[in-house]
Symmetry: none
Subunit: 188 residues, 4 copies
DNA sequence: GATGAATGAGGCTTCATTCAT
DNA sequence: AATGAATGAAGCCTCATTCAT
């Protein structure tokens, strides 16, 4: 009779992978990940099959966590600016308070190891957030641009803002607010 | 006098590295780079010392080429919008017509192998372009934000735009123009 | 018309090799030797042909220098104890005042790169010193042992003494004198 | 439970290393060591981590084996001369019957790859043998010399004697006995 | 399922020697 | 002779994955 897999181990591996990727890039060794997660090396493969699969699951996990964080406490009937402001604040806060997650996600995002399937899965969970962006841009310069493009722009601006605040935390609030104004001008 | 180093070999190695990094990421093997460049493996180290040094030189080279391309034929006394428009057009054109260069640069940019020294060297050659951005934002939402942040935002938007056009070339012109409008609204 | 070889360069290479071997063992790279000697890498091979030849010449050179140092000012008609005492003092002084030379010689001595020819050449220059040892042992425990063995014993004791003094210079004189007494007891 | 490490493999690697170092010096390639030991190349690193660690373990192993061999059947209450004679006989016998071990140990002993930690570990196991030397020298010329120096002298004399006998086995017994007399005179 | 040893291809770098200039 | 770039074999070590226990 097979023992059931442990959710804790799975999470420990994902967390360790996230930290090591943030620090050492995608070259982080599975053996090292196992050590940090305090699980046997073999378990990485019991739980994820291949390193590539692990990276993909981590990518989706981080994207999901980010999306959920963005949507949490989203004002439901507020006007669009208010909603976009909420989105922006949550997004940048998530990254600023989790530098390793932000860095890991940045590495994963540009990697060719992440499959189209994973990217689509991430897009699905990001759907509600994208809808807000869609409404916000409905009468602006980007009103006729592909929605995927507009979403990517927002993501790029948020990522840049997070990185800048991490590196220079002194002006956090000012940068975040100025960034939002720029975003609002850009798309509304 | 001994044989002088060959500029051609150096360039061949850099070009091969660029292509392979675009295709396989920073894990591209030095032996493979040498093969594509049609030089012996050892020559990679004669010319660059270490793989890391090669990556750094490639990074600076690409950034320099991009900066020069942006500034070429820049209208000198035109108004700021016109200058920013030139910058945007040149930038996105460079990326769209050189997907491997854009992809390699994107990989290198997020790598922790690129030293602060290289990043500073790149910042220096990008100086004149940044000045234009500085003038353009002088009365907009980002007027009081750190210039480095604004520059990073422009870079992020340009990169996103290039990637989108490469992936969906049909709407190239429309996306590029919409992108510019968004940029102009964001910073002016 | 060929330029004559420069004695200075030759010596610079030998000196650099000696220093680097003392520090890094026989694996010292010829390129590094050339750099320390401030000569072009190719000159190492112009002057010595192969690395192995360089090592052999260095070995003979050091052995010769040591032998000459031992014999210098040797009391000609003194009794044997006095001569052996002179030999011992000179020998240990040479090593103690030239740690790199001692260390290089120790490395070279155990190397299988040193040919029989070189060892014989070194034995020839050491001849007069060996004669003194021969006379000293003529009525002792080693009177019937092969002379080469007795010579090797003296060399081993001198080397050990030098190493010990280098490592613990505080007791230099006491150790050197005790060493001599031990030697004298051993062979006389 | 996973497969336990195999003592046999470990020993095979150490033995192969010892043989190849005796023959080719410390430059012996890890791949060659693996081949001779009939294990995959990677196993060398599974068992020893680095080549340097392998050399250090081999050094301690050989020193330990030698020390144990010296002390085996040591007459407990015999007088000191008898004990020293036993030590000398065992020591030289060990070397003469194991030329590769003696040669490997000689190479390792002068290498700067051997750490102070390893040298100290070797000194510990050699402790009882050193005590005998200490007692033997208590009223001789070296009575006030540092014990470490006296021990090193004995080691040097034993090594020299072994090498000489290996190279000229005809006079084995005579040389060994003469060597002992010399040693006894030197220190007692 | 749990564990960590086993595996060998592949990666980066070094190096003695040669040779174009 | 002088110079240092050219060369590619060889060296040490890493690593994802498998599998014996």
């Amino acid at each position: 009779m097979a023992r059931p897999r442990s959710e804790e181990k799975r999470d420990a591996i994902l967390t360790a992978a996230m930290e090591l990727i943030a620090e050492h890039g995608l070259g982080a060794a599975t053996a090292e990940i196992a050590k940090v997660a305090q699980v046997p090396h073999g378990s990485v493969f019991t739980y994820f099959g291949t390193k590539s699969a692990l990276l993909n699951e981590l990518y989706v996990e981080l994207k999901t966590e980010l999306s959920e964080s963005i949507l949490e406490a989203m004002p439901g009937d507020g006007d669009v600016r208010e909603q976009l402001h909420h989105l922006w604040g949550r997004w940048t806060d998530w990254g600023v308070s989790n530098p390793p997650k932000r860095r890991a996600l940045a590495q994963l995002g540009v990697s060719d190891q992440i499959t189209e399937t994973s990217r689509k899965a991430a897009a699905v969970v990001a759907g509600p957030a994208v809808e807000i962006v869609d409404r916000a841009r409905s009468s602006g310069a980007l009103r006729d641009a592909p929605l995927a493009y507009v979403g990517a722009l927002v993501e790029a601006m948020a990522g840049t803002t997070i990185d800048f605040i991490i590196q220079d935390p002194g002006n956090a609030e000012r940068v975040r607010d100025a960034g939002f104004e720029a975003l609002w001008q850009a798309i509304s």
